[in-house]
Symmetry: C2
Subunit: 259 residues, 2 copies
């Protein structure tokens, strides 16, 4: 981490190149074998946690600003990224948050000179999907640390970042029927059990195995391969892959993938 | 319409009370008997059309700013209103749009002094639902006229307002399965035919009548009344109403309402 004084000076000099009063916050979902996590950072070892975020340069579309946050934090390009909601309560002001004294203790009293800290911020929320074992989290400029948390065991967040996570998760549950979420969170080849586990983890409920399989096979979004996965004992289920054309057609029509 | 010079002066003096670079655009859907319309305005009789919109006062949450736009334009309170997407391409600048000369011809060369006109705007999109026969459209401060257009026969829009409509319509199609859209667009008592017509109009496709009715009855979101509607000839179908408790449960679980 560069020294804090020069970092603050750099940020103060940069502010004018960015849209004022607008930020980006990213809920980066990581999935692996029935575990769903999100990436969180904090600026100090005693402070509350935040979602990875950033600001919008005046010459850059908001979607590109979100992509930059995502690539910087995960080291990965081309992840599935979707805008889901903008958060604009009038009390979204870091300077007035109960966590501000911790921020000031970390960055010094000049921290509040940043408009980003002293003025109301409207934050555009994006969520992204990845396999968390592929990612070595990269802390942001201001971060003390950055790590994955299981969504069932989240830390205390600053400002409304818990609410931002909740809305992102709600969108993910809805979009599993209309967006290529399976395609983005599973390895290229997977068993029916892997696929069902993904749906069950996101929807937070058990699904009837026969209905699940039958529906997927009827829609034709997955193809059975002539390959099996050895998972111990006498069990070696067939591997499947997505039929991308049918899959994208189905997600386009949305409602087809509902279980 | 007040005289244009004093209107412009008023706007210039107001700008500082609002968040810079942020606007609100509302896609106000009106439905009545198989017709789906949206409310559009224009500032001059030869200019392109726009969606009703406004700006965000620094002390007001974005949702309240959207509510104000909606109430002002429709004269109605308490309509269903939902944020669906934020539009943030870097070329969203009125001053640079091919329609700007028309705006300047209408409001004079000082119009570009408004930051709202000369700077990049990030616009937060909301959609609203109403019955269009209940609404007498009220033009905004800058409007020459304001009226309903059938979505199948829309006029030429300025900036990216056509795109904003398209995304709102996509959200409406998706949300018909997860939000109380039927409840907001139908009269309190309706026939099964009325309900199916609403779904068919929004989804832009024919639905199988038997499946539609069966599914709705199974979920229990509608209740049959001991009343009939006389619609001519020998036809007098039963009237129904929503079972609000079951309905809101079903929309909460989302996927239940998919056809």
């Amino acid at each position: 981490m560069p020294d804090k004084k020069s970092l603050l000076d750099k940020m103060l000099s940069m502010e004018d190149n960015f849209l004022p009063n607008i930020s980006i916050d990213c809920v980066i979902f990581g999935y692996h074998e029935r575990e769903l996590k999100i990436l969180c950072s904090r600026t100090h070892k005693t402070s509350g946690w935040i979602l990875p975020g950033g600001f919008v340069r005046k010459d850059i579309p908001i979607d590109d600003a979100a992509k930059q946050v995502l690539t910087m934090r995960t080291g990965l390009d081309g992840l599935f990224l979707k805008q889901f909601m903008t958060f604009g309560n009038s009390d979204r002001i870091w300077r007035n948050s109960p966590f501000y004294p911790e921020l000031e203790a970390t960055f010094g009293p000049d921290f509040k000179k940043l408009k980003w800290i002293s003025e109301r911020m409207v934050s555009i929320g994006y969520y992204a999907l990845t396999d968390f074992i592929k990612v070595i989290p990269a802390p942001g400029l201001l971060d003390y640390e950055c790590k994955w948390f299981n969504i069932k065991n989240l830390p205390v967040f600053m400002l409304d970042h818990k609410q931002i996570f909740k809305e992102a998760f709600k969108s993910l549950k809805l979009h599993i029927h209309t967006e290529p979420i399976g395609l983005n969170l599973l390895p290229q080849k997977f068993t029916l059990g892997d696929l069902q586990a993904l749906y069950e983890t996101i929807l937070e409920k058990k699904l009837d195995q026969r209905n699940f399989t039958k529906k997927l096979m009827t829609i034709g979004v997955i193809q059975k391969l002539q390959e099996k996965k050895f998972i111990g004992g006498h069990r070696s289920p067939y591997l499947f892959q997505f039929d991308k054309k049918t899959y994208f057609n189905a997600v386009k029509n949305g409602i087809e993938l509902a279980f």
